[in-house]
C-alpha cells in the first residue's frame, strides 16, 4: 500500500483540473545548480518567466539558514574586545530581492511584513540558551544585517525585474564568491491592484565541485587525515625546496 501512495498522488493530480492552467506565474532559472570550483569568482543566473496577466513582481532569494553569533566590541584597557554576544536563530545566509518598481508603489506594509519582503521585515530571531526571544535587540539585529551586507551576502538595494512584454519578465541574480553551499529558495510574488495574486517558488542548489569540493570535504569529514596529508605535503615540499636549493 505504502508504495502505491506516490503513484496515487500523481494519478490524483492528473485527474484534477489542470493546475498548470490555473497557474499565474511560470518561472525558470538558466541553471538550477551553481558549482563552486577553484577560482570561482561568483556567478550570475538569469531568472525568467511569464505571468498570465500583467502585474507587479517581487523576487525574493534566500540562502540556506544557519545560526550566527553577533558580538559587540567594547574598549577594555585601550583595546577593543568582544564583549556582549547574541546568537541569531536560522539566519538566511543570503538575502536579495528584485522588483519591477519600488515596493512601496504596489505593496502594502502588512504584506511586506507577513511575507518578509525587504530587510526590515526579515524575521531574525535571537535565542538565549535555546529559547527564542520575542524581539531581538535592534542594534544587534542591525549589526548582523550590516555585516552580511558588507560581505555581499545581503542586498543593499533591490535589483530590477525587467518586463520584456506584458507577460514576459527576467531578472539577473548575482551570487558572490563567498556564497554558502546548500539549497536556495527563490520566491516570486505577483501583485495586482496592491493585492497579492499569486506566488511561485523554485529551488537552486549551490555546491562545491572538483578539487575545491574534495579539499573542503576532506578537511571537514576526514579532518585528521587532512591534517596528516597537509604535513606530508609540507614535508615533501620542504625536501624538494632543499634539493632545488642545493642544485641552484
Amino acid at each position: 500500500m505504502r508504495q502505491l501512495i506516490p503513484f496515487l498522488t500523481i494519478l490524483l493530480a492528473l485527474t484534477l483540473p489542470d493546475r498548470a492552467q490555473a497557474r499565474d506565474i511560470t518561472i525558470d532559472l538558466t541553471d538550477p545548480i551553481v558549482s563552486i570550483t577553484t577560482g570561482f569568482t561568483g556567478t550570475d543566473l538569469l531568472l525568467y518567466g511569464a505571468v498570465k496577466q500583467a502585474g507587479d513582481l517581487v523576487v525574493v532569494v534566500r540562502g540556506p539558514a544557519r545560526d550566527e553569533v553577533v558580538r559587540r566590541k567594547e574598549k577594555v584597557l585601550g583595546v577593543w574586545v568582544n564583549r556582549d554576544e547574541l546568537v541569531f536563530d536560522k539566519v538566511p545566509s543570503y538575502y536579495r530581492i528584485a522588483s519591477n518598481r519600488p515596493l512601496k508603489e504596489f505593496m502594502n506594509p502588512e504584506d511586506a511584513d507577513r511575507l518578509q519582503i525587504g530587510l526590515p521585515n526579515l524575521d531574525l530571531r535571537a535565542k538565549v540558551s535555546g529559547k527564542l526571544l520575542p524581539e531581538a535587540p535592534y542594534d544587534f539585529r542591525e549589526g548582523l544585517i550590516r555585516n552580511l551586507q558588507r560581505i555581499g551576502l545581503y542586498m543593499t538595494k533591490p535589483d530590477n525585474v525587467v518586463f520584456l512584454s506584458e507577460q514576459l519578465f527576467r531578472t539577473r541574480l548575482r551570487f558572490p564568491a563567498n556564497v554558502s553551499v546548500g539549497t536556495f529558495t527563490i520566491e516570486v510574488y505577483l501583485f495586482r491592484d496592491n493585492k497579492l495574486q499569486s506566488t511561485a517558488t523554485t529551488l537552486l542548489t549551490v555546491r562545491k565541485f572538483g578539487v575545491e569540493a574534495q579539499v573542503y570535504d576532506l578537511a571537514h569529514r576526514y579532518s585528521l587525515a587532512y591534517g596528516v596529508l597537509a604535513v606530508i605535503i609540507a614535508v615533501v615540499a620542504g625536501w624538494a625546496a632543499n634539493a632545488a636549493f642545493r642544485k641552484g
Partner: protein, 300 residues
Amino acid sequence: MPIAEMSVNVPLILAVGAGVGLLSGLFGVGGGFLMTPLLFFIGIPSAVAVATGATLIVAASISGVLAHWKRGNVDFRMGGFLLVGGVVGSSVGVWLFTVLREQGHIDLVIRLCYVLFLAIIGGLMLVESARAMMRKKKNQSRRDHMHNWLHGLPFKVRFRRSRLYISALPPLAVGLFVGLLAGIMGVGGGFVMVPAMIYVLGMPTAVVVGTSLFQIIFVSANVTILQSATNQTVDIVLALILLIGGVLGAQFGARLGAKMQGEQLRGLLALIVLGVCAKLTYELVLQPADLFSIAEVARY
C-alpha cells in the same frame, strides 16, 4: 568587490610568501612570526592564518634541518626532550585556541600575543644591533654558559652533542613554552627557543639552530594535525601558494644577504618587526569601523 578579491588574491599571496621568504633568506630567520601577521593584514582570518602558518613552518624547517643534519649539527637527545615538552605544550596551545575561538576572543589573543612578542624581539634586536655596530671592532669573547640555579635541578642527563650534563627539566620547560606559542600563534618559535637554548641551557651555538629546527618540524606537524582535526582551519592550497613564493624569495634573499653586513641586516629586520608590531597595535587600539562582528555557529 568580490571578483577583484578572488583574482587579486593569488598573486598577492604569492607576493606575501616571496616577501617573507626574502626576509627569511636575508636574515636567516624562520619568518613564521612575520608570515602570520602579514596574512592578517591581507584579510585572511586569524584562525586560518595561524593553522596554515604551522603547515608552512613544517616545510621550511624540513628544508633547513637537512643541511644542519649533514653537518652533524643536530643534538637528537636534546631535541627529543625539547620535543616532548613541545608536543605537550602545542597540544595545550591548540586546545586553548579552540576554547578561545568558541568564546570569540581568539583574534584578540593571537594579535595581543603577536604585539607582545614582536615588541620584545624587535626591541632586543634593535638594541643588540645598535650595540654591535658601536663596538664593532672590539672583540669580546662570550662567557661560557652561566652556572645558576638551573644546574641544581634533578634528573640530570648527559647531552653529548651539546657537551652538557644538565637536568632534563629546563629543556622540557623550554619545549613546553615554545610549543604553547606554536599552538596559539602558529609560529615555529625559533625566535624564543634559540636564545633560550644559548643563554638558559648553555648549548653551543653551532648545534642550536639545527636542534631547534628538528624540534620545530615535529611540533609544527603536531599543530597542523591538531588544528585541522579540531578547527578545520588548515588551508593546503593557501600553504602551497605561500610556499612557492617563499622558496623563490628565500633563494633571492640568501644571495642578497651575502652582500650585506650582519649588524645592518639585523637592525633592518628589527625595524621591520617593530613596524609590523606597531601596525598590529594600531589596529587593536583604533576604534573598529563596525563594533559588531558575526561568526557562523551552526548550519542546517
